[in-house]
Symmetry: C2
Subunit: 407 residues, 2 copies
């Protein structure tokens, strides 16, 4: 299968490229190194040492495995880049990781908010138009996020909801309450892609992914030059990855607020298998298919306690010091998100264990001198504007504070 | 009240500016003449003769009424323009018409699609950030569209839907099935604005407007230089306005497809009153309020027949020649959209009548030599890509064709 991977230099994009190349697919990756540039601008970076560019990565891959991954270095918001990639490599499937994925980044200031939405929405529109022109039968596998749904007070279904209202019925897109301007950008993408499926008969699978953890895959372990990036800072690092880095360097774990926020999580190995399963079982023509891509739900406190227990096993004394929540979000809420469709396709989850966390400790320990501690504590707040006072709130807006549903 | 009108040179923006100035408000308008430029590029234009720029318009307004409207000529996608407007004119209310409003334009090709979403999403993000920084207590009155909802098989509520699901309940954003990439851009705006209300305590009213008809208002009639634009072409002209122009020049009316598509409509006079009512009754802090802004539902065939009857009264023989539908849309469908909230605030609708249509004929007749007939027939198709064949459709996608619900 000819598979085009957009964002192929990223934390997930690069391991996905190797994983699919290793399984006999013809893989072409596109990336403009935006993540590397933004890190350089901020003075932060990957904990792991990664090869300097895609040419080095695919060269090492060829040397180690004899397999070829081809590369376009370019920005998908430029039509000429997208057009050339689709002309030179007409794909059967497009795996689209090529977006700015950080909620805090999008909330930091206007410039970063606009860049996030501009980059994500415009490059996805370009991909939609390119598919329509050059690869109308291809299948778009788009990475979305569970954060598009937010925390509604009802079960979260996989993308669509059967609704009975005033005696009539329809199946409609699941309502979204995105959690940041970044999450909004993913909702915009879903809206555009659902429209293109409905009107142009495009095939698409929207993978609403949970929070990914893990450092290594079968392929990254083959050679040091094949390592993938690992972010542990307040902007790009996600909950479990960040906690593991904090544990290793002796920094207290920093749950935000009460720590009772509940989310879906998955191992990086399951991400690779999920996108593979999606490619091997494409959506029908005209179908906008949504899978909730995670394997387990945890509260942030549960993660922190797991890391603390794993630390004890390794002789590391891990403290937990909650910090004031820099985000505006419900801290106690109902959360029950369905995630059966990828299991139905054959996913066999790698569930989270202390053993996995201890293994992450080992990899982090080997790189502990590279941790820049000044990037760990949250400095980005959702409340960049004037704060809303409780007495200014409408009953509707006050509700999340009043009804702390804990099921 | 200090009211900032974005898109103040447009079909609705300019009459709104005069209407509110006439009622004692302090009005500042912003526009970059994008609509005029796009018309110039296409060789099309307004049926009515309009003043060449905002300076001429507000000069005539001052001369005729003694009242002052101030102006910024600039592009709201540029932060410096937005920042300066908010610094120099800190508003109590912002009426945001400043978007590219044409479904066919957004479907014509990739460039126009991207321009539509770029312009609409980015300039609205700039407005949101400017409000947060310079006018956190101000009220955003944002023009959305009924086309965001599409044609679901359930009653359309005003922006929010009470949902019972698996024994639990929540009030969530009404699911959207937008009808074009333009309509998608308005959904994106709604998503961003709802988020800003929820997280920053912004005040916003999203006016999901139906199709507007009419040429004149109390203020445009005061002086020829105060006329507003009137589009009748396939890209910018809307159903009733286009039919009236066709009738006057002896062109057959052109319903698309079966003509059984049902939509909400309103008189331009009611648009002015609705935005005024919204400004005078602002949303609460943190409230994302949605009003469905139309007064009557009609099928396209009902409009065509009304124009035909009005023609008979005036001695004009009006033919109706349906054309193949250039859009991808359901032609027979359930449609029942609620629209009580503006009535509750005091809206007294100007309902559609043959008399109104005959009056539109008079204004159009006076300008009939300006009609460029080559821009009337639809040349923009929603099916710019490869067509989807019925046998490739999934059951879900085929459903709209199978279930022609007619209530």
């Amino acid at each position: 299968m000819k598979i085009l991977i957009l964002g192929g230099d990223g934390y997930l994009g690069w391991p996905t490229a190797m994983y699919l190349s290793n399984r006999g697919h013809d893989v072409h990756v596109v990336d403009n190194y935006l993540r590397r540039k933004v890190h350089a601008e901020a003075g932060s970076g990957s904990l792991t040492v990664i090869a300097p560019d895609l040419a080095t990565r695919v060269g090492a891959w060829r040397e180690v495995t004899g397999k070829t991954i081809t590369v376009t270095e370019g920005d998908l918001t430029e039509w000429s880049v997208v057009e050339q990639a689709f002309r030179e490599f007409p794909p059967d499937a497009i795996i689209h990781y090529g977006e700015i994925p950080a909620a805090p980044y999008s909330m930091k200031d206007r410039r970063r908010c606009v860049l996030t939405q501009y980059n994500n929405v415009i490059n996805t529109l370009n991909v939609i138009w390119a598919m329509n022109e050059f690869a109308p039968d291809a299948h778009l596998v788009k990475l979305g996020t569970m954060g598009e749904y937010g925390t509604p007070n009802i079960d979260i279904e996989e993308g669509w909801l059967e609704i009975d209202h005033n005696g009539r019925h329809d199946r409609l897109p699941f309502p979204k309450l995105p959690a940041s301007f970044y999450h909004c950008s993913k909702v915009h993408d879903s809206t555009n892609i659902e429209f293109a499926c409905r009107v142009w008969g495009m095939r698409a699978t929207d993978l609403n992914q949970g929070v990914v953890y893990g450092i290594e895959t079968e392929e990254t372990r083959l050679d040091a030059r094949l390592a993938t990036r690992f972010d542990y800072d307040e902007i790009w690092g996600t909950a479990l990855n960040r906690f593991c880095a904090q544990a290793v360097i002796g920094h207290p774990l920093t749950p935000y607020g009460s720590g009772e926020q509940c989310r879906g999580f998955l191992n990086i190995l399951d991400t690779l298998r999920c996108v593979e399963l999606s490619c091997l079982n494409p959506a029908d023509r005209g179908e906008f298919r949504v899978f909730n891509q995670f394997t387990e739900q945890f509260t942030i406190n549960q993660l922190a306690e797991l890391v603390q227990r794993a630390g004890k096993e390794c002789g590391i004394d891990v403290a937990i010091n909650p910090v004031a929540n820099p985000r505006v979000e419900k801290e106690g809420h109902y959360y029950n998100a369905k995630h059966t469709r990828l299991l139905d396709l054959g996913l066999e989850p790698h569930l989270l264990s202390e053993t996995l966390v201890e293994h992450m400790f080992d990899v982090i320990s080997a790189n502990r001198d590279r941790v820049r501690t000044e990037h760990i504590m949250p400095r980005t707040t959702w409340r960049s504007g004037r704060m809303i006072r409780a007495d200014e709130m409408t009953p509707r807006q006050a509700r999340p504070v009043d009804e702390l549903v804990r099921d």
